[in-house]
């Protein structure tokens, strides 16, 4: 991929782009040059600002400052359709396709070719076929329903949709996140075909191997700021990872409480797998805090859901206290002493229009009604010990702050006296004080012999709280690390620089 044509003026040029959300600046003066016929890689950790930048280029968000030019013309998109007219198309992570409609209908949605006022179905079909042929794609027919296609095929339909507006710039947000390796090879080939047609590509990916296989230029973002932007030849894996991380650990994490002992194995998963997970082996001991790191979409949440029983494992075995179990619902999970604090507090953690007390009693009333009466007396004590600030336990939880809501969720699960607590991003979006309260609670649960799984996107949190760190990548366990590891080591496992497996065919396509 060396010696790529980067001559001439850039097609797309961003200068000093700034963006604020609710008064917080998430992009600080980021600049970017994208040339025709090249692939421009955009990398950075979760929350580094890649998606925001992509969305500004795509017209989903509007920038608060800076300039965006296409072919030296200043543009300001207020809608993705305007961006499309200017020749910028985006393939988002979330597909923009209608599963019940055919490939041709999706590709030309909103721009159906007409003849004498009627939609020219034949032309639509023929044009779609021509676009498919252009990229050398076989096996997709314009008449196929999109919902029946594989994820890779849907991705290609998205790309075709982008091409049908004559896009000069196509940006792809983690296009391989959900692809198998064979499918990635097809995408590589399509990107090669696009390059030779002179299309400029912005390529966001967490997989560093792909970045090096495909990209001519690499831009690194960190905490919303540009770190570096240079030709791919000048960077290597280690250097790239170093550029992506390297921030000070500033948060405060309480030490383990005295008398905390790591006991026997409580939970054991062997060869666990489902549609989203494969080959999961996990041991969890009493009193242990197991940190789970990994990029978004790497299967962290799915792992917790599988253990809890909401979206159970379809293969493998799960043992709790030595006896094999098949959990098929959350109810069974709770019955067996499991608790899951979900990532989406408002959506799946709380009944927002009910009172603090009702929410705290929700799980116990539903699953152990015989214990509810006794618990009703104890819940105020639990809420108090968590320092929930509210106008009394009859207040609607909707009105509480994020941190206090999270404490109510925790109280709900404490009431069921669980032996295994699964926490999915328990400190997301809550203030520092509440964070520390959550950390303290985790420590005190560990002392009482409760086994804890802590999923977090914040690496300092995972490193600061865990006894052991499990790194997920692509639905598999990429490795386990001690808490003395560095952020670089975790990230290297999570993005797969260590044991990246890329099919030979894919590699050669990339290097041609």
């Amino acid at each position: 991929m060396t010696g790529a044509p980067t001559s001439g003026a850039p097609v797309l040029c961003a200068r000093g782009i700034r963006k604020q959300f609710f008064g917080v600046e998430v992009l600080h003066e980021v600049s970017l040059d994208v040339h025709a016929g090249t692939v421009h890689g955009l990398v950075g950790e979760n929350g580094a600002g890649k998606s925001t930048l992509m969305k500004i280029i795509a017209g989903v968000h509007r920038r608060d400052g800076g300039e965006l030019t296409i072919d030296d013309r200043l543009v300001d998109f207020s809608h993705p359709v305007e961006a499309g007219r200017a020749g910028v198309a985006t393939v988002f992570q979330e597909f923009n396709l209608l599963p019940d409609r055919t490939v041709a209908q999706n590709v030309f949605l909103g721009r159906e070719p007409r003849r004498r006022g009627l939609v020219d179905v034949k032309a639509m079909r023929a044009d779609t076929q021509a676009l498919l042929d252009d990229l050398g794609v076989e096996g997709i027919t314009p008449e196929a329903k999109v919902g029946w296609l594989t994820v890779a095929e849907q991705q290609i339909v998205e790309i075709i949709k982008a091409l049908s507006v004559d896009a000069r710039v196509i940006s792809m947000d983690e296009p391989t996140a959900a692809l198998s390796e064979a499918e990635v090879a097809v995408l590589y080939r399509v990107i090669g075909a696009l390059k030779s047609k002179g299309v400029a590509i912005i390529y966001v990916s967490h997989r560093l191997q792909e970045i090096f296989d495909l990209c001519d230029t690499i831009t690194v973002l960190k905490d919303g700021a540009l770190v570096t932007s240079r030709p791919a030849e000048e960077l290597d894996h280690a250097g790239l990872v170093r550029a992506m991380v390297g921030r000070p650990i500033s948060a405060f994490f309480p030490e383990p409480e005295e008398g905390t002992e790591i006991g026997e194995v409580v939970l054991e998963v062997r060869g666990g797998g489902s549609e989203q997970l494969d080959d999961i082996d996990v041991d969890l001991h009493a009193g242990e805090i197991l940190g789970v790191a990994g990029l978004q979409g790497s299967g962290r949440t799915e792992l917790l859901e599988a253990i809890f029983g909401v979206v159970p494992f379809t293969r493998g075995t799960l043992r709790l206290h030595g006896s094999t179990l098949t959990l098929r619902s959350a109810r069974q999970g709770v019955r067996n002493g499991l608790a899951l604090v979900t990532e989406d507090r408002k959506g799946t953690g709380l009944a927002l229009s009910q009172s603090v007390l009702d929410n705290a009693l929700l799980a116990i009333r539903a699953v152990f009604p015989s214990r509810a009466r006794q618990m009703r007396a104890e819940v105020p004590g639990i809420l108090e010990s968590l320092e929930v600030v509210s106008r009394g336990s009859a207040q609607e939880v909707r009105a509480l702050s994020g941190g206090n809501q999270q404490k109510v969720v925790l109280a709900k699960w404490l009431a069921t006296s669980p032996q295994v607590v699964l926490l999915d991003e328990p400190t997301r979006g809550i203030d520092v004080g509440a964070k520390i309260a959550v950390y303290r609670l985790i420590r005190s649960l560990a002392r009482r012999g409760v086994a804890i799984v802590l999923v977090s996107s914040e690496l300092p949190e995972v490193l600061g709280m865990s006894d052991r760190v499990l790194v997920m990548s692509d639905g598999r366990v990429a490795g386990q690390l001690p808490p003395s590891s560095t952020e670089e080591e975790i990230l290297a496992l999570a993005v797969g620089t260590e044991n990246q497996v890329i099919g030979d065919d894919a590699g050669t396509v990339g290097r041609q």
Partner: protein, 361 residues
């Protein structure tokens, strides 16, 4: 078998079901010594189809757009009254009366569409409200039947070509027209898109409001046509013809039976016509066999539930599967796929043939 069923278009499935119902009905009717296919009986079945057919065609449009129309029975009643009063027994007034009826009903549809799209009120509530307003108007201003329909217009409901009533022919022609509109006009394509996902439609540059407003106008006009047909059969306008037939729920049932998804975005007019035909044959069978009328509703209800349960099993789910339990087969990939070891499939999982396994849901 499972696989083949899945491959089959839902509309084709509806007509297979219709065929099965016809065969069963023919056998049952034959046991009473009569024939289901006698000209008289065929005329009865087709007559039973036409009124519900008109309403269901319109209902299909709104449901495709992920809305609903509960105001149809009152629109029908109002249409019958407007037509009968304007005609008032005079042949010369037939054409103006029909035009006026269509304009009035289109106006109601426009109101429904604007309430749904501009005010953002869900179709269920919006049309329920408009329906109640119409009901109140009808109940306060009409004590009973009014107006009179001249003989020339009564022919619309009374004559036929052989055993096929004119009204059924008109209804089927309308179905063909609407089916054509859905396939060959931008309106049709955009209606499917808005119903399937309003957000996807918006991001693709579709103006989301227009298709839905159009669908609501279409639904009201179709209900108006049904009202005209009823007026022609009765010879008068009646404030209760629509609600007596409970055409709101029956039309939704027919649409759903025809394979159109209540959430919008998927379905077809011909499926709906199949659904209407199944209801008509069942009704005819039960009246020929002199079933208890309550049993009639029990059977209708069972048929709808069974049908929708069947469709739900075949639903397309666009969920990304990372590790399919069955070997994934990317049709387009050329490289050797390092497929995850085929795990011991759990007993509950279906095991379709490998080449289609990866995406069967």
């Amino acid at each position: 078998m499972r696989l083949r069923l899945r491959r089959l278009d839902t509309t084709a499935l509806v007509y297979l079901a219709l065929l099965a119902v016809l065969i069963i009905a023919a056998i049952l009717v034959a046991t009473t010594g009569r024939s289901l296919f006698s000209p008289g009986n065929i005329r009865d079945i087709l007559t039973g189809m036409s009124v519900l057919g008109f309403v269901a065609i319109g209902q299909t449009l709104v449901i495709l757009g992920a809305s609903l129309d509960l105001s149809v029975p009152y629109v029908m009643s109002l249409a019958s009254l407007v037509a009968a009063q304007t005609m008032n027994g005079s042949d010369a007034m037939v054409v103006p009366a029909v035009l006026l009826t269509l304009v009035v009903t289109a106006g109601i549809g426009l109101a429904n569409g604007l309430i749904v799209t501009v005010l953002g009120v869900h179709g269920f509530v919006a049309t329920l409200g408009v329906g109640l307003i119409l009901k109140g108007y009808l109940d306060t201003n009409y004590q009973g039947t009014e107006g009179s329909v001249p003989w020339s217009f009564q022919l619309f409901g009374a004559t036929g070509i052989g055993p096929v009533p004119i009204s059924t022919i008109v209804m089927l022609a309308l179905a063909a027209l609407v089916a054509f509109i859905l396939v060959r006009t931008a309106f049709g394509h955009h209606l499917f898109a808005v119903g399937g996902s309003s957000e996807v439609a918006r991001l693709s540059g579709v103006r989301q409001r227009l298709p839905l407003i159009g669908a609501h106008i279409g639904s009201s006009v179709c209900a108006g046509l049904a009202g005209l047909l009823l007026a022609s059969r009765l010879g008068v306008g009646s404030p209760t013809v629509g609600s007596q037939g409970s055409y709101d729920l029956l039309s939704i049932a027919a649409v759903v039976l025809g394979g159109t998804v209540l959430m919008g975005g998927r379905g077809s007019i011909w499926g709906t016509i199949g659904g209407v035909a199944i209801f008509a044959v069942l009704d005819n069978l039960m009246s020929v066999m002199q079933f208890n009328p309550f049993l009639k509703d029990v059977i209708r209800g069972l048929v709808i539930i069974i049908a929708v349960a069947l469709y739900a099993r075949r639903r397309v789910i666009a969920r990304r599967i990372r590790f399919a339990a069955n070997a994934p087969g990317p049709n387009i990939a050329t490289g050797s796929a390092p497929a995850p070891a085929p795990a011991p499939a759990p007993a509950a999982a279906p095991a379709p043939a490998a080449e289609t396994g990866g995406r069967s849901q």
